[in-house]
C-alpha cells in the first residue's frame, strides 16, 4: 500500500511551499509541489513609474533582497537601451557577490547542514579527535582541542536549556545520519561561526546601497558617489573596508565551507544517485565583465543543457517569444485565451482563479489546479535552475575557470562527473560556485580600484533618465542569476508607465506544478526514487528539497491513504 506524505513547510520566502508525495515500499513513487500563497507584485506595479519598480520588487523576498532590485533596473535599462558606466556594473557585481557569499554559506550551514549533521551526536564527540580531523582538512585557526571542548560545553548547555529550536526539533538519531560524532561537532562549530561571519559580509550592501536590508538601486547606474577623499561618498576608507570583507569571505569559504563540504560528502555518496530529477538545465548567465550587452563575457555563461548532454550548449534569449513561456493548467490563475495556453511573460497575465479546497484541508486536488505558481517552460522543456545549472552550463560551455573548479572538486571526491546530477551534486555545485564567486569578487574589486585610480568616478548615466526621452512604448527583460537560479523580470512600458510586469523567479522554475502535458517540474521529478526510511520522519525528502535551497522551515504533517492524519512532526527549522 502506498502512503501519501504531505510536507507543508512554513517557508517565509516566495510564499508557502507544500510537497505531497506517494511512498511505496520505502521509496517515493510520485510527488507534487505546490505554492500555497499568492504573489501579487505584478498587480501592484501596473501604472507606476518604471524607475520605481525595483523598490517594490525588492520587498518580495528578504533573504536575497538585492536580486529583484537588480533584475528590475536591468529590465528598464533593457527597454530603454541604457548602458550603465563600468563602475556601476562593477559595484553591482560586488553586491551580487556579497549576496551569493552570504546566501550560500547560510544555506549550507543554517538551512541544509542539519539534514546531514546530527547535533545531538556531536555532544558525544571526543574534542581531541575533532581537533585532529579539523586540522587535517584545513588550516583554519579555530581548531584546537580546547576550542572543541569549550564549544561542546556551550552546546550541551543549549541543548539542556530546551529553548532553542535547532536543538529540539529534528530527527536526531535517524539512521540516515552517517557522520562520526567528531565530524558532527565540527559541523555544529562551523554552524555557529558561519552565523557570526555572515553578519559581516552583508555590510558590503550597506556601503554601496546606503542601507541594509533592502539596499538602494538605480536605473542607469548605482546610487552612490565614488570619491576617495569625500566623507559622504564611497571613499578610500570604505573601499578598504569592502576589500577586507571580501578577503575574509574568501578565507571563510576556502578554509571552512569547502573543507567541510569535502569532509561530509564522502559519508553520503549514496546521495550522488538520488534526487537528479529533470535532465535539463537553464542559466541566463550573469556577472558581466565588459558591460551587460556583451553576454559572451559573463562570468556565468548563458545557455541551456538538454538531456544531460554536456557536449552541447543551446543558446538562450529571454526576449525570444518562443523561449520562456508560462502555462497555468495546474495553477490557480485564468488566462483570457483559456487553459492550455502558454504565454511569453511580455504577454503574461496575472488573473487569480482559486479553485482549491478551503483551508484547512488534507490533500490538494493534484489532478486539477493545485498551486499558486505558474509553470514556466523553456521551448517546452522543464528546466532546473540554480547552482547546478550554472556549473553544468559553464562546464558544457568550456569555460575554463568553471571546468577547473568542477574537476578539482570531483577529483577530491574521487567521483565521476555523473555524480553531479543528484541531490549531492546540487549541494556540491553550490560550494564550487561560492569558491569562484569569492575569487571573482577580488577581481571586480581590483578593477574598481584601478578605474578610480585612472580617474573614472562615473557611477550613473542620466541619459534616458527623463521620461520625456522615452519612446511611447518599450519593453525589456532584466535577466539575472539569483543565488537560487535564473531570475528575470519582463516589463512593458507604455506612455512612461508600467503597462505589464511579470517575474519568473527561480522557485517558479524549480517548484512549479506539472505542465499541461503532465511533465513534472524539478522538485517533483527529483523526489521520485528518493528513499523514505520512516514515513513519520521523512528526513530524506528534506535533503532533496533543501538541496535546491527553497529556504524554508518545515512542519510536516502525515496522512494515510484516506486522508486521515497519521502524525505530525516539526522538522529542520531554520534555526
Amino acid at each position: 500500500m502506498s502512503t501519501r506524505i504531505v510536507v507543508d513547510p512554513i517557508t517565509r520566502i516566495e510564499g508557502h511551499l507544500r510537497i505531497e508525495a506517494e511512498v511505496k515500499d520505502g521509496r517515493i513513487t510520485d510527488a507534487w509541489s505546490a505554492g500555497t500563497m499568492v504573489r501579487g507584485i505584478e498587480t501592484i506595479l501596473k501604472g507606476r513609474d518604471p524607475r520605481d519598480a525595483w523598490a517594490f520588487t525588492e520587498r518580495v523576498c528578504g533573504v536575497c533582497t538585492t536580486v529583484h532590485a537588480l533584475a528590475s533596473v536591468r529590465s528598464v535599462e533593457d527597454a530603454l537601451g541604457v548602458a550603465v558606466p563600468p563602475n556601476a556594473e562593477l559595484i553591482r557585481n560586488l553586491m551580487f557577490c556579497a549576496q551569493y557569499l552570504q546566501d550560500h554559506v547560510v544555506h549550507f550551514y543554517h538551512l541544509h547542514a542539519l539534514d546531514w549533521v546530527d547535533v545531538v551526536s556531536s555532544l558525544k564527540a571526543d574534542p581531541a579527535e575533532a581537533s585532529r580531523i579539523a586540522q587535517s582538512i584545513s588550516n583554519w585557526p579555530k581548531s584546537s582541542p580546547q576550542y572543541f571542548h569549550d564549544l561542546q560545553k556551550r552546546l550541551t548547555a543549549f541543548v539542556e536549556s530546551g529553548q532553542l529550536g535547532i536543538f529540539a526539533n529534528a530527527y536526531w538519531g535517524h539512521p540516515a545520519y552517517k557522520l562520526p560524532p567528531e565530524v558532527n561537532l565540527i559541523g555544529v562549530a562551523h554552524y555557529l561561526e558561519a552565523l557570526e561571519w555572515q553578519k559581516e559580509i552583508v555590510k558590503v550592501h550597506t556601503i554601496f546601497g546606503g542601507k541594509n536590508p533592502h539596499p538602494n538601486y538605480l536605473v542607469g547606474g548605482v546610487p552612490c558617489a565614488l570619491n576617495i577623499d569625500e566623507a559622504n561618498a564611497i571613499n578610500a576608507e570604505r573601499l578598504a573596508y569592502v576589500g577586507r570583507l571580501f578577503e575574509e569571505a574568501a578565507r571563510f569559504v576556502e578554509q571552512v565551507y569547502l573543507p567541510d563540504l569535502l569532509a561530509i560528502a564522502p559519508f553520503y555518496l549514496d546521495w550522488a544517485e538520488i534526487g537528479g530529477g529533470v535532465s535539463n538545465y537553464l542559466c541566463y548567465g550573469d556577472l558581466p565583465t565588459n558591460g551587460f550587452a556583451d553576454v559572451a563575457r559573463f562570468k556565468f555563461p548563458r545557455g541551456a543543457v538538454l538531456d544531460r548532454d554536456l557536449s552541447k550548449v543551446h543558446p538562450v534569449d529571454p526576449h525570444d517569444p518562443d523561449g520562456v513561456r508560462e502555462s497555468i493548467d495546474h495553477s490557480w490563475y485564468s488566462y483570457n485565451g483559456g487553459e492550455g495556453k502558454a504565454l511569453h511573460p511580455w504577454d503574461g497575465e496575472t488573473k487569480f482563479n482559486y479553485t482549491g479546497p478551503k483551508p484547512p484541508y488534507d490533500n490538494l486536488n493534484v489532478g486539477g489546479k493545485y498551486s499558486w505558481l505558474k509553470t514556466p517552460r523553456w521551448k517546452g522543456h522543464a528546466m532546473e535552475v540554480g547552482p547546478l545549472a550554472r556549473m553544468l552550463v559553464g562546464y558544457a560551455s568550456g569555460n575554463q575557470e568553471i571546468k577547473d573548479a568542477v574537476t578539482e572538486t570531483l577529483a577530491a571526491l574521487k567521483a565521476p562527473a555523473a555524480v553531479l546530477f543528484s541531490t549531492l551534486g546540487r549541494t556540491a555545485a553550490r560550494g564550487i560556485e561560492t569558491r569562484l564567486i569569492a575569487r571573482w569578487a577580488t577581481e571586480f574589486y581590483s578593477q574598481l580600484l584601478a578605474n578610480i585610480r585612472n580617474g573614472d568616478s562615473r557611477t550613473f548615466t542620466k541619459e534616458k533618465w527623463e521620461p520625456a526621452t522615452w519612446p511611447a512604448q518599450a519593453r525589456g527583460v532584466g535577466a539575472s542569476e539569483a543565488p537560487r537560479g535564473a531570475l528575470a523580470h519582463w516589463i512593458v512600458i507604455k506612455d512612461q508607465k508600467i503597462e505589464n510586469y511579470q517575474l519568473v523567479v527561480p522557485s517558479t522554475w524549480n517548484a512549479s506544478p506539472r505542465d499541461g502535458q503532465g511533465q513534472r517540474s524539478p522538485y517533483e521529478a527529483a523526489l521520485i526514487g528518493t528513499p523514505v526510511h520512516d514515513p513519520t520522519q521523512p528526513l530524506e525528502i528534506l535533503r532533496t528539497v533543501h538541496s535546491f535551497d527553497p529556504c524554508l522551515a518545515c512542519a510536516v504533517h502525515l496522512y494515510d491513504d484516506r486522508g486521515g492524519r497519521l502524525g505530525a512532526a516539526s522538522t529542520a527549522p531554520v534555526l
Binding site: 501579487g40 556601503i207 536590508p213 558617489a225
Partner: protein, 167 residues
C-alpha cells in the same frame, strides 16, 4: 549625486563616537501585504519626527538574517511589528522580551521569523534588552500597500510609546 551612507562597524565616517547607549528602533514587516507592514509604516512616521541623537531608526523590512548584525550590536532595542493575536485591529500592546519564545510566531510574510532571529542572536551571545511594540492586525492582504483604517490610526500611539521608552 551624493547619498549619505550609514555603514555599520569600522566603515563609519570619522565622526565623534556614538553615544554608548544607542537605542535601536527597528520596524519590521512586509510592505507588500497590507497591514503586515505596519512596523515599516511606523518607521516612516517616526523618521519624519525629531529624535535625540542616541536613537537610531531602521527600516528592517523583511530583512531576515540581514538583521542579525543589528540585533547583536545594540544593547537596547525597540522592535515594532504586527501581530495576529485576535485583539481588535489597531490594538497597540507592549512587552519586554526575555527569550526567543516570547516573540510572536512569524506571521508568514516575514522571511525568517523574528523568533528564529532571536534564537540566532542568543546563540552568539547575551540577548539585548528588547521592548516589543505590537500592533494587532486582522489579516494579510496580498497586493495592498496601504494600511487599513484602524491599523493606520494606531501609528500615533506607537510613536508615543517609542518616545516614552527612549526617554
Amino acid at each position: 549625486m551624493v547619498v549619505s551612507l550609514h555603514p555599520g562597524g569600522q566603515a563609519a565616517p570619522a565622526a565623534p563616537a556614538p553615544p554608548p547607549a544607542e537605542v535601536l528602533v527597528l520596524g519590521v514587516g512586509n510592505l507588500l501585504v497590507g497591514d503586515e507592514g505596519v512596523g515599516v509604516h511606523a518607521f516612516r512616521v517616526l523618521e519624519r519626527e525629531t529624535w535625540p541623537p542616541h536613537v537610531r531608526l531602521v527600516d528592517g523590512g523583511t530583512g531576515g538574517f540581514h538583521l542579525l548584525d543589528l540585533l547583536c550590536s545594540h544593547a537596547r532595542i525597540i522592535l515594532i511589528d504586527a501581530t495576529r493575536d485576535g485583539a481588535p485591529p489597531g490594538t497597540v500592546a507592549q512587552f519586554r522580551a526575555r527569550v526567543a519564545a516570547d516573540f510572536p510566531p512569524a506571521l508568514g510574510a516575514h522571511d525568517i521569523g523574528l523568533r528564529d532571529l532571536i534564537t540566532a542572536a542568543a546563540l552568539l551571545g547575551p540577548l539585548p534588552e528588547i521592548d516589543v511594540i505590537t500592533v494587532s492586525i486582522a489579516e494579510l492582504k496580498p497586493m495592498t500597500l496601504e494600511l487599513s483604517a484602524p491599523v493606520a490610526a494606531a501609528l500615533p500611539e506607537v510613536s508615543r510609546r517609542v518616545r516614552t521608552l527612549v526617554g
